[in-house]
């Protein structure tokens, strides 16, 4: 086999499983065994790759990964310079993945790799994103109740109703996920964000297991506030990222209407009971005019920003799925 052909074989993979791990030394061997079992049950077992991203662990996770990698060439272990957080680690794995289908999951063994074949089969039915739904969650109520509320809110705000936004076990077509903007803490909102690229989304009930090793890396209360802000951000982006000028234009029209009403009131006072134009009232009307102008300009700059983005969401939608 010549070099080019072998390079082609190496760079193509049927399925990439992306697993960010942070201080999961004890979970790694079992996780690998279960992943390998899931792959071996699949017709293209040889063309799988398991991309483990070590997000700056300090407990020997890296050594465990290297050990697993030596045993199986399908394993790729990537170590980050420091602990960057779940979303960047996930983004790193997705960027590195070479598969046409990409599966993401947590490294804490709470997701069950045995569910992967079913997720892949659902992708084959013509979906771009299949989200896991932990319908029997093995977590404390203090985590499941806020999460239920959050799922409802996200679904209502973004128009993508899913039962379980927080489940990391998801399967994607590479084309859909690689185009989805992924930054800050937004990995939770990948399904909602991917609608911007025109992806077809569905969900599938998956198994959820209690934590076997280590402890959860989340602190619920501190997180809630930021998740709420993220939720608003995503909702706003989805609402207006397609047509910012229309979004801001509508706002500006509302302001103009309110201003016109104020103007009438001031005029009515001038010709009628008051007999002069109150300076404060006139000031309010001027502020309204100013705000309308500001909103139109901001909408216009937002349009410019989208139009000049190369490969940004504006283009993604225009080009459709591929």
């Amino acid at each position: 086999m010549d070099a080019a052909a072998s390079a082609r074989v190496m760079t193509m993979a049927a399925v990439s499983v992306v697993v960010p791990v942070y201080n999961e030394r004890e979970s790694v061997p079992q996780l690998y065994t279960e992943l390998a079992a899931a792959a071996d049950a699949h017709p293209d077992a040889r063309d799988w790759e398991f991309v483990f991203v070590d997000d700056g662990s300090r407990d020997g996770t890296w050594e465990a990964l290297v050990d697993v990698q030596r045993r199986d060439a399908r394993v790729r272990a990537i170590r980050l310079k420091r602990n960057f957080g779940q979303t960047p680690a996930m983004a790193c794995g997705i960027d590195a993945a070479r598969g046409e289908l990409i599966v993401t999951m947590d490294g804490d063994l709470q997701n069950d790799p045995a569910d992967i074949p079913r997720l892949l089969a659902t992708l084959d039915e013509g979906y771009d994103v299949v989200c896991g739904w932990r319908y029997r969650r093995q977590d404390a109520l203090s985590r499941t109740i806020p999460s239920k509320i959050a799922n409802r809110l996200i679904g209502w705000l973004t128009g993508v109703a899913l039962h379980d936004y927080g489940c990391s076990l998801k399967a994607y077509r590479a084309a859909a996920i690689k185009r989805t903007p992924l930054y800050a803490d937004l990995h939770r909102f990948i399904p909602a964000m991917s609608t911007l690229t025109g992806a077809a989304i569905t969900e599938l009930k998956v198994n959820h297991r209690a934590r076997a090793h280590g402890r959860t890396k989340y602190t619920t209360l501190a997180r809630t506030w930021r998740v709420a802000l993220d939720m608003l951000t995503v909702a706003l982006l989805i609402k207006f990222a397609q047509r910012p000028l229309r979004f801001f234009g509508l706002l500006a029209l509302g302001v103009v209407a309110a201003t016109a009403a104020g103007l009438l009131q001031v005029w009515h006072g001038y010709v009628g009971p008051v007999g002069f134009i109150p300076q404060v009232g006139a000031g309010v009307v001027l502020l309204g005019i100013w705000l309308a102008g500001h909103l139109v300009v901001v909408g216009w700059v937002a349009e410019l920003c989208l139009a000049t983005a190369h490969g940004g969401p504006a283009r993604m939608v225009a080009s459709g799925g591929d």
């Binding site: 190496m10 399908r74 790729r76 990537i78 420091r82 009131q265 404060v280 500001h294 700059v301 969401p313």
Partner: protein
């Protein structure tokens, strides 16, 4: 042979004695990094320097000169120098020669055991009290803002792997903050104490304008390090607070007008409440604009730095 080490110097009219600098570099660097190169970035100085440069290049073949069309700020000039540099290890020199060239090997030392960036920390200082106090305050505020233990951001004598410089978003005067950005991205870095040389006094060290400039740089740093990825979190909250205050006042006035029938058209509170509402919407909309910029470029902004990778390419 491709050079492995590149020394980058910016010069306007500050270096008088380039020949002796080049000679010292030869003496110091030849044993450590044979085949180094010197990149001089000429920030649009007059025609005499071009003649001097030509003479210098004849005497020192390791020197290369990059000429900028106009003065564009130190970070841009540095970036131009790095772009032209061929070495894997970059040495940038302080334009005021506060660090003796003899101390450069001390900075190269830590690179051998995996450090990515080494910064000179001028200590002890040989400056006036005022200048020392200003510097301590500047570094203190930067430490407080970023939680990165930096001690001498204003000393530009640094040694780094090329990768570090290329990973950082530098423009304007942000090269000062190289250690902060590098440590945020996970690069290993350290400071090495070197005694300050008498050198030349920093131009405008007691200049009010340079203090204001540095202060504004710190503000930029605060934004870049805390809110770069989440503009809407910051501006959105500020906007919401202003909007809520304005709306509360407005509701109070509406109550007076509708329930009690009092006139409100002459009350300054009306103007204030509407002003707060307008300002709130403005701030939030600018935040949304910022968020949109991050959003559209998110795929290009890599949030992570890879330390090492096993598997994948090797069969």
């Amino acid at each position: 042979m491709e050079p492995t080490t590149s020394v980058i110097m910016l010069f306007g009219s500050r270096y008088e004695d380039l020949e002796s600098i080049c000679l010292s570099l030869r003496r110091i660097l030849t044993p450590l990094a044979p085949g180094y190169e010197v990149i001089l970035v000429d920030e649009a100085t007059g025609p005499q320097t071009q003649i001097r440069m030509r003479a210098l290049r004849q005497q020192f073949p390791e020197v290369r000169v990059i000429r900028l069309r106009r003065h564009m700020g130190e970070s841009t000039a540095l970036a131009a120098g790095v772009q032209a540099a061929r070495g894997e290890i970059l040495i940038t020199l302080d334009p005021y020669l506060h660090v003796a060239l003899e101390d450069v090997p001390k900075l190269l030392e830590p690179l051998r055991n995996g450090t990515d960036l080494v910064c000179a920390w001028r200590f002890p200082r040989r400056e006036g009290v005022l200048s020392r106090a200003a510097s301590a305050a500047f570094n203190g505020v930067a430490r407080w803002l970023t939680q990165v233990p930096v001690h001498d951001l204003n000393c530009r004598t640094r040694v780094m792997r090329r990768e570090v410089f290329e990973a950082l978003p530098l423009y304007g005067d942000l090269h000062r903050f190289i250690p902060i950005f590098a440590s945020r991205r996970g690069y290993r870095w350290c400071e090495v104490q070197v005694p300050q040389q008498p050198g030349k006094r920093e131009l405008g060290a007691f200049d009010m304008r340079s203090y204001v400039g540095r202060f504004l740089d710190l503000v930029t740093l605060a934004f870049l390090s805390r809110f770069l990825k989440r503009p809407l979190h910051f501006f959105g909250l500020m906007g919401m607070a202003s909007f809520a205050a304005g709306a509360a006042m407005f509701a109070y006035l509406a109550y007076l007008k509708v329930a009690l029938g009092a006139g409100i058209g002459h009350r300054p509170l009306l103007l204030l409440s509407v002003l707060l509402i307008v300002v709130g919407i403005q701030i939030a909309s600018i935040g949304l604009l910022g968020e949109l910029m991050i959003f559209t470029h998110a795929r290009d902004l890599k949030d992570y730095v890879i330390e090492e990778e096993r598997g994948g390419d090797d069969p």
